[in-house]
Symmetry: none
Subunit: 490 residues, 2 copies
């Protein structure tokens, strides 16, 4: 039994997205859904998630958690720390589910509803422990989009626990200050949706034309700044107040049809369904999902590289995500090469030839080097004092191809060291023992301010020289000291 257990009550697209989020973060997921199709559906969503979320990671994610299909609700919730309800939007059904869950679950578990519309006060009506029930409203696809609206009191312990757990699984909790029907996101969406229905009904534009206008203009803006920040920029140096003054009068103009609710009669439903078929009917839903996920991964990578917006959620998450379990750490003796870094060959590392692209080999060596430097005592404080170690030269030999899904372990040896200089050797092997690459590097210890090589300070110096002494017995590997194009020995 693992401490990290999430219970997913109700599968489908949203429940499946939650399941994938937790499982890819190493949580055991207990699914309860009486629908005989639930397991198939949830496995399809998880397949989509496995093909996309890991593309955002520069390192291996934790080992995927188990999916446990439960035939009884109690079994699913009993040991769960997080219980997510994603069943149909009918208040009585939800309240009854919460009664059953609270009769069986831990009192300290987070009990969250994915509801789009109901307020916590409605969900809690008649509950055993009302405060335990909160709203955690996500967005589809849950395994890629980080936003979650939390509703249920800003100082409620269940909300505080939920905030921490959501951050741990790479999501962005936004806790609302008041509870209102439909929270924040769906209110904004509904406002826009109503206006869009009028535009179609009145034949101003088709669904395809409205979608083009959205996604070729403010959709691109809102993927990285929201409504207010975008308008702040539009207002220019004169600022937000100036912008508001300009925009203000429009509120009194009779522009929108907002004051009037369009009747969603059969004719309008038929019109929209027909236009939507003309717009997107040549793709299956599976194809559209795959296109959507590729685009979202691409956007999130752009934002992650710029450490901005939704991308920052992922860069922060990757900093703190638990590493897969390591086994070799404990048993290492300094007389043998340093082996601390093992990594999966990630899907994003593959080039058009179908194997790991060249610069990723250096990345893997570099990650092992960072483990070694940390072991030797190159701490943040050491760097903060103005000293560090720079790589001045690297020589890589590619000996075999690493393929997606394989694991590579790096073995690192000190070939030479003096008080200013370290020469080292990396050997990259797959789990099958095939050496895919070697790397030889020259490092210099530098005074960063002065911009020149200086003697290492303690304790780094003694540790480096000590490890070099220990490694002298290992001999010089074949391939060391070679230049480009030099013939193979033997």
């Amino acid at each position: 039994m693992t401490d990290k257990q999430a219970a997913i009550i109700g599968g489908g697209v949203i429940g499946g997205g939650w399941a994938a989020r937790f499982a890819l973060n190493g949580w055991q997921v207990n699914l309860f859904d009486p629908d005989p199709e639930a397991e198939r559906k949830i496995r399809e969503v998880m397949q989509n998630a496995r093909a996309s979320l890991p593309l955002l990671a520069d390192k291996s994610l934790p080992k995927e958690g188990r999916l446990v299909i439960c035939t009884r609700l109690e079994e699913a919730v009993r040991d769960a720390l997080w219980i997510q309800e994603s069943i149909p939007e009918q208040l009585a059904i939800k309240q009854s589910a919460f009664a059953d869950i609270q009769a069986a679950c831990r009192p300290d578990a987070v009990l969250a509803s994915s509801t789009s519309g109901f307020r916590p006060a409605q969900l809690r009506d008649g509950a055993l422990r009302p405060d335990q029930i909160i709203v955690a409203h996500p967005y589809n696809p849950v395994y890629l989009l980080p936003a979650v609206e939390l509703v249920g009191g800003t100082d409620n312990p269940a909300i505080l626990t939920a905030e921490q757990i959501l951050k741990d699984i790479g999501m962005k909790p936004v806790t609302l200050r008041q509870e209102i029907d439909a929270h924040v996101g769906d209110r904004l969406l509904e406002a826009l949706w109503r206006e869009a229905l009028w535009l179609v009904k009145d034949d101003v534009a088709t669904t395809a034309e409205i979608d083009e206008i959205i996604s070729y203009s403010f959709g691109l803006r809102w993927a990285q700044m929201g409504l207010f920040e975008t308008y702040r920029v539009a207002g220019g140096e004169a600022g937000m107040r100036h912008f508001m003054a300009q925009f203000g009068p429009a509120l009194a103009w009779p522009w929108t049809r907002l004051m009037d609710v369009p009747e969603l009669d059969e004719a309008l439903i038929e019109k929209i369904a027909r236009q939507s078929d003309a717009q997107s009917g040549h793709y299956s839903i599976r194809e559209l999902e795959a296109i959507r996920d590729k685009n979202l991964v691409g956007f999130l990578k752009v934002l992650k590289d710029h450490k901005w917006g939704a991308g920052k959620v992922y860069s922060d998450w990757l900093k703190t995500a638990p590493l897969p379990e390591q086994t070799e750490k404990e048993s290492w003796q300094p007389e043998t090469p340093f082996v601390r870094h093992r990594t999966e060959v990630l899907p994003a590392w593959i080039d058009y030839n179908g194997h790991m692209t060249e610069f990723r080999y250096l990345q893997v060596m570099s990650d092992s080097a960072d483990c070694l430097l940390s072991y030797l005592g190159l701490s943040a404080a050491y760097v903060g004092a103005g000293y560090s170690i720079y790589t001045v030269e690297t020589h890589i030999r590619h000996l075999a191809e690493a393929k997606p899904g394989e694991y590579i372990t790096v073995s690192t040896q000190i070939l030479y060291a003096d008080e200013k200089k370290i020469r080292l050797w990396h050997s990259l092997k797959t789990d099958a023992g095939i050496e895919v690459a070697t790397g030889e590097q020259m490092w210099l210890h530098v005074d960063m301010k002065a911009g020149r090589a200086v003697a290492m300070r303690q304790p780094l110096r003694d540790r480096v020289l000590g490890l070099y002494e220990a490694h002298r017995g290992l001999g010089v590997p074949e391939g060391a000291g070679r230049h480009i194009g030099q013939k193979q020995a033997g």
Copy 2:
């Protein structure tokens, strides 16, 4: 005098964006704006455009058109094929400007207004040639976002001409079927804006929290699919009709505050301005613009790679964009090193020492190598036939540090080639001309199935050997052929 002349009446952010669009597509731009600050403002916007739009192009853009500052309206419009009005939103002022313009311009010119709110019928009232006047409503930043709403009759010749010209300058015209106040995009925006004002006024969430909810969820969705297509996917295999049936009832629920217009009084303006300062006040507007443009370029590149949505507008545009009279490409002589790849040092590439981390140097070299291979004829079809080029060895020397925000250009030279082997040299320099790194590589041409080196096929072979012949005259760079730790020459 060139045939392609655009007159920009009214500078500012929108006029400046139009000016940049036309100029970067090789059009002469005549600016008329009585504001003495207009030229400075427009040059600032053009500077932003030059730093972003060309990053989307795989080929050189046409030579930038001249910017001509006109002191008289007649001078600006006389020979223009496109006249864009972006003056303040006051109907009488606009009507008067159109009267002056029509007295001086060509009758076959497109006379377009950037108005957010007015209908063509209002703008045309009392005009000399009413049909010549249309609405072409763009989105800020105009030099990156492709959407333009065209209003003024679907079979009006001015609209048909406008559609063609907008496509030619990399934009996406969407012609509305009916004219209504505020067109389509601003109606949708206004609906959402009103609801957002209520949320702030009622203390449900702050401007920052609302922006997070938007940009970490449906903002990312709408950058690539619009409202209707997103809901179609959410509806699953059951389709749009099923989704509509589910969503329908919400229209009758008393969720949104849409039926009621919030009063934009001093207290609400002050509240929003204060929250916006807390949210974004630590960035200047210039900084926010730069962040926005980098993110937009990144998104558009992702979409272009997938030939999807707004990115498809750019891939189509690049296919048809007129070739520059004298491009860098065409002027490149094989007797000089190959220079095609220039990249920003991204924030995510920085290590704990504060400069670009080692493996990113190899990534930059590798990206230049991919440009070279593509130039030499290593196509997808070539690889598909089972042949490719593998790197077998790389030697990198780090000579100086590249810092975040700097740009690096790679210059690549063939040191040696025969029918199976290529040895090459990369030099990485900053815009200041500092060589930050060099790379020497050995490539082998392989039969991927057989897993061994074989002679290159045509046309790759002749092109490689031809470029090697051309590069022989360049000599061997200092640093080539060195092994790790070898003393510097001289």
